[in-house]
């Protein structure tokens, strides 16, 4: 797996122009976040260049800046040994939606659910 130790890397303190590619749109990014851009490496059939985000010592994101097709990609490299997870503060949102997933409610719980509002029903049985 590509990592920051795999050759020369340029540490950039976040936020940086490169950091926007990670879409970690947390405005209060912790100072412990590093975005490391590796050198372009010829893997035999083209150039590969990756950007790695490190937060509190753990890799939280890997982005391919160059892949052998020659185009700039933002594909995540899912073969990374560590699964890529993002973490942010929980917010309580309102948004236009079509349906709601949540822990399974009972028939009674349904009456109180957003889904019942979406179904447009007053619930006589509750």
């Amino acid at each position: 797996m590509p990592s920051a130790s795999n050759g020369p890397a340029v540490p950039v303190t976040s936020p940086s122009p490169g950091a926007s590619a990670t879409a970690s749109a947390e405005p209060s990014a912790t100072p412990a976040t590093l975005v490391l851009t590796g050198d372009a490496v010829d893997v035999g059939y083209g150039l590969v260049q990756v950007q790695v985000t490190v937060q509190d010592g753990a890799i939280t994101d890997v982005v391919a800046l160059q892949l052998p097709s020659g185009d700039r990609h933002s594909d995540r490299i899912n073969a990374a040994a560590e699964p890529i997870l993002r973490e942010e503060a929980l917010t309580a949102q309102s948004a236009a939606i079509d349906l709601v997933s949540g822990a399974t409610y009972t028939s009674m719980g349904y009456a109180m659910s957003l889904q019942s509002a979406l179904d447009g029903l007053a619930d006589p049985a509750a």
């Binding site: 890529i84 822990a103 659910s113 957003l114 889904q115």
Partner: protein
């Protein structure tokens, strides 16, 4: 409701009380869908009658209590129990139909509902519906976008505030299942007994089919914080986890709208 409700143009909608919860059917394809919805409703009631662990006359109850040998059981029962074993093995025993009940009876309830919804999807597709959603008490399946070439907008319920959302995802096709402790707190499945589930408020994942999505959500919930990592390693699965300290952990491929 705080501005959450968009104008919705459904061609047909039905709400079915079954399996201890409520199934919402929302068909966006134009057409007359009463007969197809009748067939879905009849199927869900048939599945409930066969699998209920609340009815001593159900076939599943008789299998669980060894009145009926498994080899003689209905093929649906054998199929569901095979799926349960698959998820048990994949989850290192965090989902285990043999260790869910205090009395030790075999209980596949955690997988049956999703499995029945997967079958209902086939009924709707065979009837010609291309664009529809089935939401079974918060575990759901969508097909064909929402009818305007747009993906379905699936809200993930905020675990503390019932009419707010933790995030929103866009999904044209697929299943979304959530497991959490806030609706049925007495139904926490914790085969390992280490109470790791206390680390998280809810676990949501998207996958191709609801039967396994539902069971994987149950298993990941029992893993606590490690559930997010485990789900991220499953092929074809994206997930979001709300932790007890109010963090939202998402896999990088989750198609988020908000």
């Amino acid at each position: 409701m705080p501005g959450t409700l968009a104008p919705i143009r459904s061609a047909y909608r039905r709400v079915i009380r079954v399996m201890g919860t409520v199934v919402s059917l929302d068909i966006r394809s134009e057409g007359d869908w009463i007969a197809a919805a009748d067939e879905v409703e009849a199927w869900l009631r048939e599945a409930e009658a066969r699998f209920s662990m609340f009815r001593p006359d159900s076939e599943m109850w008789r299998v669980a209590t060894h009145v009926v040998p498994l080899d003689d059981a209905h093929p649906d029962i054998r199929e569901v129990l095979r799926l349960c074993e698959d998820v048990r093995d994949a989850s290192g025993g965090r989902f285990d139909a043999t260790r869910h009940r205090p009395d030790g009876l075999l209980d596949p309830t955690g997988l049956v509902k999703g499995w029945a919804i997967d079958r209902a999807e086939v009924i709707l597709r065979d009837a010609g519906a291309r664009s529809f959603a089935l939401n079974a008490g918060g575990d759901l399946l969508v097909r064909g976008g929402r009818g305007t070439g747009q993906p379905w907008r699936v809200g993930i319920r905020h675990p503390r505030i019932a009419d707010r959302l933790a995030c929103v995802i866009a999904l044209a096709e697929g299943a979304v299942a959530t497991s959490g402790g806030y609706e049925r707190g007495d139904h926490i499945a914790d085969p390992a007994g280490d109470e790791r589930w206390r680390e998280v408020l809810s676990v949501t994942l998207s996958a191709a089919h609801l039967a396994t999505a539902d069971a994987y959500a149950t298993a990941a919930f029992a893993m606590g914080r490690d559930g997010a990592r485990w789900l991220a390693m499953q092929p074809g699965v994206e997930a979001c986890v709300v932790t007890a300290d109010d963090r939202l952990i998402t896999t990088s491929g989750l198609p988020r709208l908000g």
